[in-house]
Amino acid sequence: MLSIKAESLTKEFKVFQSRPGLKGAFRDLFNRQYRVIRAVDAIDLSVNQGEMVGYIGENGAGKSTTIKMLTGILQPTSGQLLVNGYDPHGQREQFVRTIGVVFGQRSQLWWDIAVQESFRLLQKVYRIPEQDFKPYLDRMIEVLNISPLLDQPVRKLSLGQRMRCELAAALIHQPALLFLDEPTIGLDVLVKENIRQFLKEINKEFGTTILLTTHDLADIEALCSRVVMLDKGKIIYDGGLQRLRNEWGDGKKIHIETVDTYTLSQLQAQTEGMKVHWIEEGPMRFTAILENGNAKVPEVISRIVEHVAVQEIQIEEASTEEIVRKIYQEGLVHA
């Protein structure tokens, strides 16, 4: 079953353009100039139930606007959109019962009241029967380790504590689809790791579909098998993380330190017939650059160690972060 089905989904904003200077401001009074901005430009997106999808893009690429359309906050300008079988904006009140939302930079909880009171209020808002509510919430409290925080008002919590409570609040009605907008922003490494672990468990246990936007690509690496990349309102990549690496990442590098001295050609001879480029970094230090997809690391290493006395081997791979940066800088020419 499809969780999200979007066809040529588009959102345009009319933006008022002010003229410069006092004279311009005066003219603006009578004759306003507008410019139409396409924040999301005819995107197609299908997400299956149970998938974990990373939605990435630079600031202003249209990520938030897409999320807001998918969650029913904004009405699309044009295009077809079906989420959990509903039209998110048109059938908002029924639709939002089937989704959970966490906006990292904005609290979903009531600021002044204790966390457990927020949970109680949400129980009433979502009309969850007591016998369903209690065991599930207790489970959340245990897994997220938030029982010491329950009687604190939200405003007294640290960011990491708050985020764990936000997750519990977003999942209180057992939604089939969870939206996370920058869930790990500003958190320290340990909390980030806990949250990732928790999301994995939720996905595995309940089959919850998760769509997350993030600037921290480590979130994506840890969680998502699929990445959707957005640039200027258009999807420029949609597929596995591995394929992204293969297509865009430069080849892997193998750094080798030898015990005896060898010449460059001696090493080159070992990988004869493979698409490997050798560089001599210094005395007894060499680097093999493997051409993408054409040379396998294990094979190169096994050939080397057979004839060369090796002191140390290091394998280097471009990080997702570098790859993504490269895509933004170079645009689509590569593909």
Binding site: S64, L74, H89, E93, F103, R106, I113
Partner: protein
Amino acid sequence: MFQIRLFHEYFKQYMKTRLAYRWDFLAQFLTNFLFQAVNLVFILVVFGHTSDLNGWNQYEVIAIYGYFLIPWSIFSAFFNLWDFNEKYIIKGELDRVLTRPVHSLLQIIMETMTPESLIGVFTGVLVMGYGIYHLDLTWTLLDFFFLVLFSIGGVLVYGGIYTILTSISLYTDSKTDIQPIIFNVSTYGRYPINIYHRFIQIALTWVLPFAFVGFYPASYLLDKQEWFWYAMATPLVGIVYLGLGVFTWNQGIKRYRGAGN
């Protein structure tokens, strides 16, 4: 009904947070009370100089003012939309509201209510009772029924107009200062309408029908037959304006552009 039960839950939560700040809560009560007392003093001062206000004597004006306080207090307890633009649009709280399965306007009313303003109902009944006591009127059970019906109608008129005004923020992202102006106009409804210029009378009846909040119903309760049909129309005007308000709001939500990213 689900909505009423939910209202009750929000109310309980609100009281919990309010009672946590005891002195603040008490101060709020006192300022509300003082504010209404000042208005009453103003009426007394006016009648210190004249015994007659275009055919209305002091006790009648006091009774109208007292009546006006009833719908006005109920309104201000539940329609606290003054900082809607700031809090919900600019800070983006509306995004959160829109991801919950309850009508957005109802949620905002529940989140911003200040039930302590309801003390004004009590003050209003006292002031009105004081005026009527000096007027030699006989009150039947039917009059009490109309008092309740008209009060509800008045709250709906107020609520409708304010919902329309608040909805403006959903259509434009620039700040509007129209609310305080309208708020000033709204207080016109608590004096006899025939003391105003003809133009203002029409405006208070047909454009911004604040006369239906105070004067028209009160005149009926003071046994003035001249505005009988206006008084009877109060609940209808209330329903029409609330309907307009909700319609404007719903259209606005469709055009909502989201908080800045």
